[in-house]
Amino acid sequence: MRIRTAGVVALFALALAASGCGDSDEPAAKESPKAAGGTLVIWADDKRTAALKPFAEKFGTENGVTVEVQAVPNEDLQNNFVTVSSQGGGPDVVIGAHDWIGNLVQNGAIDPVQLPDDQKAAFNETAIKAVTFNGQLYGVPYAQENLALIRNTELAPEAPKTIEDLVATGKQLKAQKKVTEILCLQVGQKGDAYHIYPLYASAGGYLFGTTANGDYDPKDLGVGKPESIAAFKKIAALGEKGEGVLKRSIADTNSTATFTGKKCAFLVSGPWATADVKKAGITYDVSAVPGFAGGKAAAPFVGVQSFYVAAKGKNKALAQEFVTNYVAKPELAVALYQADPRPPALTAALDQVKASDPDLAKFIEAGKNGQVLPAIPAMAAIWDPFGKAEAAVIGGADPTSTVTAAGKTIAGSIK
């Protein structure tokens, strides 16, 4: 009898299993007609996913294929992509910043794309340069961004020409109790290499030298060299023990909020900050980050957002088709701009949106002297030690020993 009990139980267990199995079969059954036309899977962050969806669907219906746009949070995107790619799966197309290229290439996660010259010419030159790595084009850019000086025109009607001008204006406003801070430039306890770089460059420092063909050269590290020490001495003079312009208490979390709260007249930030500034109802203007008087231009980093073709994608031919022929259309670039206001990399698209958004041209103008953010894997070794050296120097540490130590740490972790 026990056997019969067992048998009956097993039978129903199997029936249940079959029903559970039926559930998992359903999507598979749905996929099979899709597979006949091919499926293109795109990974993007939340904002871009929404903007991309209508275009992806249009591309799908035009060509008889299925396009899935999947939202992955921006901070996890690169990591998740590299992980699934190393296991032979993942999306066909990925959207991300151009400084991922070095890491994506060393992990064999993306393939080069081939754009004919006339198509390349339709893009901003800097944007194409940014997605070129080891002489190969690895992505199709759609937007670019760089830092600029955003100022409250009620408090500071004139754009400062030099940092010294800015400090003088800021101090005056502070003395009049109109503001509490001279400049909102995010530093934080760990420093922020990206935001301090314009001043560092203006004071004569550099991160990497360039090779003969214009690529960044990881062997020529500028941090720890005499130029970088001189630059950090100038930064130290603006720090907490000096003029009090740069402060560790101003960090990524409160920099924009302090500006929109009218506690400072100047904010160093990018196009992403303008939405908050507009919302706060502040009359503002955008100009280039000023450099030190008599120094070099305060070159901000230029970053580019780009579409990549995944090397391990199941549908590479379609991915190449989408990225090289469809992404380069101005309509898509304009839609992506509307989702997230960064200047389009496609010249035609920029011309379209420029008229309605005067900030864009100003940001591009501010990035005219900019340097392409290095995409080489060695750049990953810079961020943390450089930022901490910056924070220490701003807090009053000795620039010479601090920067020399940072240079050693960076050199030690570059292979």
Binding site: M1, A15, A36, V65, G108, P112, L318, N325, A380
Partner: protein
């Protein structure tokens, strides 16, 4: 779900009389065999076993697809063993032990073993896949368009069935307008007039060929990307589905010398199995490497790297101080409050309890970030409220005090809760007896209440210590290890071993999982030793007071 639901219902009748009839001859066995089979019990059994079977079948498909036969064998054996165990009536102790054991293996033993095995490899960015993956990546990323060559409008076509027939490229020369057909043998011009060419240059129809539309072509994506048409200057490859370009792979792998050769520069990179990369004579490495076994080098690096061994002792001491301070501080505060509320003279205890538990009810992630902002020098609530200008996270000791204060706030409600529970379990007669004997309240607390409390709470204190020893969030979401000495950006004053090693493994060049695994084994060893010693002492204590 609707069909099987009627199943168990009808199944109840069939086995019903079973135990009645099989029961009598086995009366001498354990009483459990007599336990009647209830409908609810049977239904639960059916549902759970059904779930097991369902999960097993769901897991089997990807395993078959990936040809993981060992994994499939493990899956089948485990499932079969589970069914044998729970469908039979014997092995009662095993029925209780197996689920826990399975979960222990799946979620504790396997990850630990995987971590341990990773510690002996160079797994990390640039060394994720196999050597073959690296070779494919090197070759495909070196395909360059031949300088001066043109790009051709492309159509993918076949002579046979669109889903299976061998593919050809139909390309149009943009200057002359001649249409050519290309396959693996080469490029041949097509008779003029045999093809219909759209204005853009794309062939829309050709005699004898079926031109694939985008959907059909993309369904054969791999065939399209794999088709290489040899030409005089290089080879014609597809760039998407509507364009072809002439390109050559500049770098090629040569199995003979186990090296990669660059036809442009003439350089060679020879495979080095020790480091898992192709290395040139001058030491330059190709970025795309592969995963290799590196033996003990990750462990020796932990011991010999000055950046690690130098500040290690100081970090370890602070790590202990942090764990002891967090655990001890929260315990003392929680216990004092529990004692206060335990007093029979206290009024409104429920309200107090509710208020005191509030910090416990809030998500610690958000609270840590809020505390971080409250400690801000110029804008933080703490400095503004007390009129201070302390640079909390900028000085070693103020930062350490700050993170322990945050831990105290976050952790005391837990200790308060468990201490309240333990206090209620201590009979009041004991303390009353001490007061009859003339002991002061302090003496009775020292001699009776505290030891009994500790017997009950020691395991919790040890686990709390182990948790705080590796409390990554507490540091990473507040100070991030700051302040850092000016001359050493890799080790800060509030760094715990876990945040410090996280920075070493992931904060520098790129993710180094092998190295991180080696460090985590070291931390595991430290925590394991501390816990083992504490549990030993607890047992001795229990023997005294039990």
């Amino acid at each position: 779900m609707s069909t099987p639901l009627s199943g168990p219902g009808s199944a109840q009748q069939a086995p019903g009389p079973g135990p009645g009839r099989t029961g009598p001859p086995r009366t001498t066995r354990t009483a459990r065999n007599h336990a009647p089979i209830t409908a609810a019990g049977l239904a639960v059994k059916v549902v759970l076993l059904g779930l097991v079977a369902g999960i097993a079948i769901w897991a089997a498909f990807p395993l078959v697809e990936a040809e993981q036969w060992i994994g499939l064998a493990v899956l089948v054996l485990t499932t079969a063993a589970l069914f044998y165990l729970y469908l039979g009536r014997r092995h009662v102790p095993a029925k209780y032990l197996v689920p826990g054991t399975l979960f222990l293996i799946a979620f504790q033993v396997v990850p630990v073993l995987y971590t341990a095995s990773t510690a002996f490899t160079n797994f990390g960015d640039g060394h994720r896949g196999s050597k073959d993956d690296a070779i494919v990546a090197i070759q495909s990323s070196s395909v360059k368009q031949v300088p001066g060559s043109t790009q051709y409008p492309l159509s993918v076509a076949t002579k046979g069935d669109p889903t299976t027939g061998p593919l050809v490229f139909l390309v149009t020369d943009p200057e002359t307008g001649t249409v050519s057909v290309g396959d693996a043998r080469g490029l041949r011009p097509l008779d003029p007039g045999a093809a219909t060419v759209a204005p853009g240059g794309k062939v829309t129809a050709a005699d004898g060929y079926t031109v694939l539309n985008v959907g059909q072509a993309s369904a054969r994506s791999k065939d399209v990307t794999d088709l290489v048409v040899p030409t005089a200057g290089g080879a014609l490859r597809s760039s998407g589905l509507s364009r072809a370009y002439e390109g050559t792979a500049v770098r090629a792998y040569d199995a003979g010398c186990d090296c990669v050769k660059d036809s442009d520069s003439g350089r060679t990179w020879t495979a080095d199995g020790e480091v898992g990369a192709f290395v040139a004579a001058d030491g330059e490495r190709l970025a795309q490497g592969w995963k290799v076994n590196v033996g003990l080098s990750n462990f020796t690096r932990v011991l010999t790297d000055e950046r690690i061994s130098g500040p290690f002792l100081g970090t370890l001491i602070w790590n202990f101080a942090f764990a002891i301070g967090s655990t001890g501080g929260t315990f003392i505060l929680g216990m004092l409050i529990a004692l206060a509320l335990h007093s029979p003279r206290m009024r409104g205890t429920n309200l107090y309890r509710m208020l005191l538990i509030l910090p416990y009810a809030m998500p610690s992630f958000a609270m840590l970030l809020i505390w971080r902002d409250m400690f801000n020098t110029d804008f933080g609530l703490i400095n503004n409220m007390f009129g201070l200008s302390v640079d909390w996270f900028g000085q070693d000791w103020s930062a350490r005090v700050a993170v322990i204060l945050v831990q105290l706030w976050l952790g005391y409600p837990y200790m308060f809760l468990v201490a309240t529970g333990a206090l209620q379990a201590i009979p009041r007669e004991l303390t009353e007896a001490t007061s009859v004997d003339g002991a002061s309240p302090w003496q009775s607390f020292r001699a009776v209440t505290l030891p009994l409390l500790l017997v009950a709470l020691s395991p919790l204190l040890i686990s709390s210590f182990a948790f705080n020893f590796n409390n990554f969030n507490a540091i990473y979401l507040t100070t991030e290890g700051a302040p850092f000495p000016a001359d050493n950006p890799s080790n800060g004053a509030t760094d715990l071993l876990i945040t410090y090693t996280y920075r070493l493994a992931f904060g520098g060049q790129d993710a180094q999982f092998g190295f991180a695994a080696a460090i985590s084994l070291f931390i595991f060893a430290i925590v394991a030793v501390v816990s083992a010693v504490s549990f030993r002492r607890t047992r001795q204590q229990e023997e005294v007071y039990a």
